[in-house]
Symmetry: C2
Subunit: 352 residues, 2 copies
Amino acid sequence: MERRKSRSFLLGSVGIGGDNPVSIQSMTNTDTKDAAKTLAQINALAEAGCEIVRVTVPDHEAAEALKEICAKSPLPVVADIHFDYHLALEAMDAGVNGLRINPGNIGGTSKVKAVVKKAKEKQIPIRIGVNSGSVPKDILAKYDGHPTAMGLVESAMRHVKILEDLDFHDIKISLKSSDVPMMIEAYRIIAKMVDYPLHLGVTEAGNARHGIVKSAVGIGTLLAEGIGDTIRVSLTGDPVEEIGVAKQILRSLGLYQKGVELISCPTCGRTKINLPEMVEKIDQATAKIDKPIKIAVMGCAVNGPGEAREADIGLAGGDGLGVIFKKGEIIAKVPEDKLVETLLDEIEKMLN
Amino acid sequence: MERRKSRSFLLGSVGIGGDNPVSIQSMTNTDTKDAAKTLAQINALAEAGCEIVRVTVPDHEAAEALKEICAKSPLPVVADIHFDYHLALEAMDAGVNGLRINPGNIGGTSKVKAVVKKAKEKQIPIRIGVNSGSVPKDILAKYDGHPTAMGLVESAMRHVKILEDLDFHDIKISLKSSDVPMMIEAYRIIAKMVDYPLHLGVTEAGNARHGIVKSAVGIGTLLAEGIGDTIRVSLTGDPVEEIGVAKQILRSLGLYQKGVELISCPTCGRTKINLPEMVEKIDQATAKIDKPIKIAVMGCAVNGPGEAREADIGLAGGDGLGVIFKKGEIIAKVPEDKLVETLLDEIEKMLN
């Protein structure tokens, strides 16, 4: 698939857009004033593989806490600002690497100018983030009072125009909705209108049971069409959970090269072994592997190795006896109760 | 989004292709010979919302068991046949509603003719199912020895041609791969070449942790482009688990109208309530609702009702006091510890 060509810039040390890899973002849900707690969550997110973190800055105390947070954060920090331009200025002085702020909502030209001036001086990019719950009334009215894909786009373009008029172009745009088709459509439209990097997300996607699938469909569809430069999976719960899902989305499209891709068959009436149990054991034992490896766990020794010949290594169970294979070639026949152990040993050998 | 126009036919009582809704399939993993056990799994799948079930038919005893299975199954039954055309004939006589068989692999023209003749008599559609692990060697050789999207398509088209030459057109096609970009590309190509309905799936997608996201990205991307008439989510484990995921994929794209769409915000530093706990409670209490309803659970009473104004009903928490809202309008203010209870009461009133 061909990737949309977007403009690129740095957010802290992370390259955004252009040929840079699609990066994974999340947002803390701690009280930002509590720098220690916020930093603990940022560290956990970084450990899980998050690459950019956003923190809400609702007041002056939060902006103050940013000094410590930015100084110690292992990830670039984006300040999420609503309405109050003073907080944007304070956040930039505190050392944030990015702003999420909608310049049309901060109260007029002189305030926007002050924010843009400082952002230029400090080379801080700005994300314009609109979502279907906050489309302005006049735009809603154009579309029967309901948010639409085009309404989201128009809403974002108003803010874009304000920044462009001030010759500011380090812009990233998000157009989130909890309605996946609307979100897909909105990004498809804006992707053709501008060359700014796009941040993808399905907003208010729900808890894991609802939100994983919604996020995978919304974000995945756009990435599969070459659209998207940074992503966020929003789940109600611990944000660390979001990172694993984000990695899976990217990995499923060949956009994330690290760690295990686990292939396993759904089993059928032919399967003679307890495949689900084996898969769980192997999944848990290999979850921390960082090097890219494709592992197959197949129910059937006759077809399994051939069907999974694109896997780096795998096992296939039979009736009592199973096989270990590499790239489709059988390298060992092993009694069933030694299969998992032998596979894990072989994987360790491959990686060392 | 515009849906690809496909030919339509009946599989038992289920309309496939054309303007029929996208339907949800799964496959039993019991021993088909054990009719009682297989029927128990089919019933569980039907209960969960599965609409078509496939069973493997590896031998004569399994084909025999199909008589009882087909007589008692609440769902149309598709027989999965490999290589042996006798089993296909027996399965059709036993009463299956569909076949999954690749006519190029059953040993020559006279055998194919016998199968097609009976399928025509009994109005039984045939699914051609190729996957990246079983692309024929001569096609693999054309593409450097590796499966490719085009290889999958060519492989399927060989089987299609055999059926077309016998004037058989009640054909459904699947082109599965565990490689999501390959699978997406293959379906995109074949969608333009033929008008047969397409059955979508990512094969060997792994256990839930890996397979849900892979399936959602692969199947979701194609559905979002209007491609796909039936779907299967393959997960290693209990097939009943697949159905919930399939429903979520369809629902996220507005292709499944029943049940709850749960919207909830990811919480942020502004959230004063235990939103994840509330969401879990509401999710569990409403999981069995069949009528379509969009429920929002928002962290913030100031922005929540407005942001979730497209929801039928919702709650938004504040600091001690929360609100219940319908379509963005606040209908009640409620102490925090009564919020979930009040919401559930209101939902029950709405549905009755």
